[in-house]
């Protein structure tokens, strides 16, 4: 009996080691590919002047979709921020998703909105649109506001916006996100520079806005967050976007374009049914369906990522809201894997089926479960006296040092390319964060992910809710 237990323990031990090693090697591969992709981007962008496109009559039109639900605190400055976008041909659609606060009234007063008869056809199902508003002030001629019945999800709101959108490409963002003024120019560039493939989605790096300075919705000073929880998220975003997504982008294997900022091909998005309002990870779900559609219809597609930070978003500062966000993301991932399991190792879906889906399954979905079971086994074995402590500590040190290295490399790629922060102290501040991340932040992620999976299995009800924002005011003098 003891022999069997020992054999099983060895098999488990070996399997976990191989699993961990493959994961770490994947990160190493992504680190190498990402620096190639980032350098390529920097080299190319130095020759392509964005202002050429800004003044060109040949620029493709883009619709900016920003859903808002009870965003009364920040709505005006956020819409003003969107109105500063530098692009020759675009419209901004603010979707008021049945807010119960004064979001709509504020918009009407501030931007001199009047109700108009707006003709559109429903291509994707969403809750009904009650009214459409346009501004009588020519300064806001690109602004269109729709007031719709609450659909209890961001997906439903964006779908309503897609139905109204005029142009062939739409940019999906959250109304509380602050965009760089050249966002549209930067995001459309990969579409216009792609020689063979059809670029169906483009994303860019997102950052945490919490300690940055803003004036009238425009970012004036970039800083890493002072509070620990948002700073962990900043480091996580740098790793995920600059290292992860850029690495995957080099292989044309981007698994997801963030809901905070993404430019999409409207035709493909409509043909595959738009956002799924029942999904908790609607951005990833749409991306998966768009890829699936492209494979099914033999469209040679590409999804691109840009290493430059084009969007700043407010990160949760309290554990309660952070937990809500992460359980939701985890639930979305579980939902997506379950819904599209047919793509798993299915050669019909090319890189999506053979690379992205297995990676997401093994290293995103299963990772928290494996970590958790690992801790349980660890505790059991230590009680039974089976732990070789020096070796166990060595293995722990191995994982710790490696994770610190990968995050530091991500910060390095970011720093050598863009040098975002003004002072040395701010960079040092950020560089110290990975040392604590493993011990303080990572356990939270694992725990909240498991909670998300539990909610998925039990079908707990959840809605897209209030993030309890602080807003981006002008710096106090």
């Amino acid at each position: 009996m003891t022999g069997i237990a020992e054999t099983l323990a060895r098999i488990y031990e070996g399997a976990i080691f191989v699993y961990g090693l493959v994961l770490l090697l994947t990160y190493a591969m992504l680190a190498i590919l990402s620096i190639i992709a980032v350098r390529q981007y920097v080299k190319r962008s130095s020759y392509h002047q964005l202002n050429l496109l800004a003044g060109s009559p040949l620029a493709p039109g883009i619709t900016v979709l920003a859903p808002a639900f009870n965003e009364g605190l920040t709505i005006i400055s956020n819409v003003r921020s969107l109105l500063t976008l530098n692009y020759p041909r675009y419209e901004i659609i603010i979707i008021n998703d049945g807010s119960t606060d004064n979001t709509m009234e504020q918009l009407v007063d501030e931007f001199k909105l009047v109700e108009v008869d707006f003709a559109f056809t429903v291509k994707i199902r969403s809750q009904p649109i009650r009214r459409v508003f346009k501004s009588t002030d020519p300064a806001y001629s690109s602004l269109l506001v729709i007031d719709k019945v609450n659909g209890k999800s961001k997906a439903d709101a964006v779908n309503a916006g897609i139905n109204i959108a005029t142009f062939d490409y739409f940019l999906c963002t959250d109304v509380d996100c602050i965009l760089h003024k050249d966002t549209l120019l930067e995001l459309i560039k990969p579409v216009m520079q792609e020689p063979k493939k059809r670029v169906i989605a483009i994303g860019a790096t997102l950052r945490i806005a919490n300690s940055c300075e803003f004036d009238e919705g425009v970012m004036t000073r970039m800083r890493p967050p002072r509070q620990l929880l948002p700073r962990f998220q900043e480091v996580e975003y740098i790793r995920a976007f600059v290292l992860g997504k850029m690495g995957w982008s080099y292989l044309n294997c981007v698994p997801n374009v963030s809901g905070g900022l993404g430019l999409f091909d409207k035709e493909i998005a409509i043909r595959c049914g738009g956002y799924d309002h029942s999904s908790f990870g609607e951005d990833m779900e749409l991306m998966t369906r768009m890829c699936r559609y492209a494979y099914d219809n033999r469209i040679d597609y590409a999804i691109r990522y840009i290493p430059k930070t084009l969007c700043w978003t407010e990160a949760p500062t309290s554990l309660k809201i952070f937990r809500r966000q992460r359980t939701r993301w985890a639930r979305g991932l579980a939902q997506l894997t379950f819904a599209h399991f047919g793509m798993f190792f299915n050669p019909r879906y090319g890189k999506m089926g053979l690379v992205i889906f297995p990676y997401n399954f093994f290293f995103e979905l299963l990772a928290p479960i494996i970590e958790f079971t690992g801790i349980i086994v660890y505790i059991v074995l230590s009680i039974m006296g089976y732990i070789n402590w020096p070796y166990a500590l060595l293995l722990l040190l191995f994982v710790y040092t490696y994770s610190v290295m990968i995050t530091t490399i991500a910060i390095l790629w970011d720093q050598i390319t863009f040098r975002y922060y003004k002072s040395w102290r701010e960079v040092l501040y950020l560089c110290m964060t990975p040392f604590m991340e493993f011990l303080l932040y990572h356990p939270l992620i694992v725990f909240f992910s498991l909670q998300g999976y539990y909610y998925f299995l039990t079908g707990k009800k959840s809605t897209w809710g209030n993030m309890q924002r602080q807003g981006f005011g002008k710096k106090k003098s």
Partner: protein, 384 residues
């Protein structure tokens, strides 16, 4: 004692490593790699920030100096006020020689500032800036870059030459217009159009790969902003080019230059089998307001795919001859596709001068959905 222990440390580690199972050996190697990698990453961050800081500091001193010199010696040069041709204006180079021009970074900074100023001025002033660039022998640096093996250096040189309107032999640029490197190829094409003294549009004849949307934006800007360029009749490529992207691009240029001489070639293009190109041709005819093509457009309407039909309706609206009001009315009332009805309504509104009565009648009798479409199109606040 402590020294003795320290000297024994590597051998202890070695013996642990030798006696450890494979997994632990791998872990130990990775620990060393990770610690070294992290330390190197820190060093690189520090180094890169320090270099950036030094560069910024140097440039923060040099750039205002360069700007002041350019403003004093070139832009506010008293001779320039008297309309003396740029090549006869003597430039005082002495103050420029006081800059650290023995350093490549300083020379590059000066070149970049001259280009920056030149982009913002026209005519004689621009020529004087070009003279400054030549007299300071900055062009030699650019030519050195042209000979570099690295494509990015070549691109940089081509951009500098193009920005400063420097003459360069066609034989030097022409081979690069078919380079395998996309960036270099594009830069060479732009330079060729801008700098070629003979046939700036010659590469349109030989280009086989598609002109990307971005290339078209860049080419469009260069063609439409270069002074003294002989604009050819683009009908030549619309008729004979086998490259669809060249034809499509030429249609945009025809619209920009309002080249009515190209209309027969565009009308012929309506017979093309490529319906994307056909849609471009219809769009072009509409923007040129070619009333003679209107009847043919209406004739072919029923046999066209949806996007060509939409373009035909838009073209009729743009032409605004008032000859096809009934056709637009029929499409508005009876088409089953929403976009067709909306395009027909828009064109009716654009033909309002002739269609006032029809619009009033439709406003009084249309179904609620059609009425909404019509009101949408009539509302000046709604652009699209």
């Amino acid at each position: 004692m402590a020294l003795l222990q320290l000297s024994a440390f590597p051998s202890t580690i070695e013996s642990i490593f030798r006696n450890a199972p494979l997994a632990i050996q791998i872990a130990m190697v990775f620990i060393v790699v990770a610690i070294t990698g992290t330390a190197l990453a820190y060093y690189s961050i520090l180094r890169s920030r320090y270099r950036g800081y030094r560069r910024d500091k140097k440039l923060s001193v040099l750039l205002p100096e360069i700007d002041n010199l350019i403003i004093d010696e070139v832009l506010t040069n008293p001779d320039m006020q008297q309309d003396i041709p740029a090549d006869q204006v003597p430039l005082n180079l002495e103050p420029f020689q006081r800059l650290p021009l023995d350093r490549p970074w300083a020379r590059q900074a000066l070149t970049d500032r001259i280009i920056h100023f030149r982009r913002n001025v026209r005519g004689n002033m621009g020529n004087l800036l070009r003279n400054l660039y030549i007299q300071l022998e900055l062009d030699k640096d650019t030519m050195k870059k042209m000979k570099s093996r690295r494509w990015e250096k070549k691109v940089q040189a081509l951009v500098e030459l193009t920005s400063l309107n420097m003459s360069i032999a066609d034989v030097t640029i022409l081979p690069l217009t078919n380079s395998r490197n996309r960036e270099l190829r594009a830069a060479a094409r732009h330079a060729y159009i801008k700098l070629s003294k003979n046939e700036p549009f010659k590469f349109f004849d030989v280009v086989t790969d598609p002109l990307l949307m971005w290339d078209q934006v860049e080419l469009f800007r260069i063609i439409t902003t270069t002074e003294g360029i002989a604009i050819p009749n683009f009908a030549r490529w619309i008729t004979y080019s086998g490259n669809k992207s060249v034809v499509s691009f030429c249609l945009k240029l025809v619209v920009h230059y309002n080249q009515l001489a190209a209309v027969p070639a565009i009308i012929k293009l309506l017979d093309t089998r490529d319906h994307y190109l056909r849609a471009d041709a219809i769009n072009c005819l509409g923007k040129l307001k070619v009333a003679e093509a209107e009847d043919q457009l209406v004739r072919i309407y029923t046999s066209q795919p949806l996007h060509c039909q939409i373009e035909i309706l838009k073209a009729i609206g743009r032409i605004s001859s008032g000859r096809n009001i009934d056709f637009l009315k029929t499409e508005f009332l009876h088409s089953t596709d929403f976009d067709l009805r909306k395009s027909a309504a828009k064109s009716l509104v654009k033909n309002e001068w002739f269609a006032k009565q029809v619009i009033d009648e439709l406003l009084a009798t249309s179904s609620p959905e059609n009425l909404r479409i019509l009101k949408h199109c009539m509302n000046p606040l709604i652009k699209y």
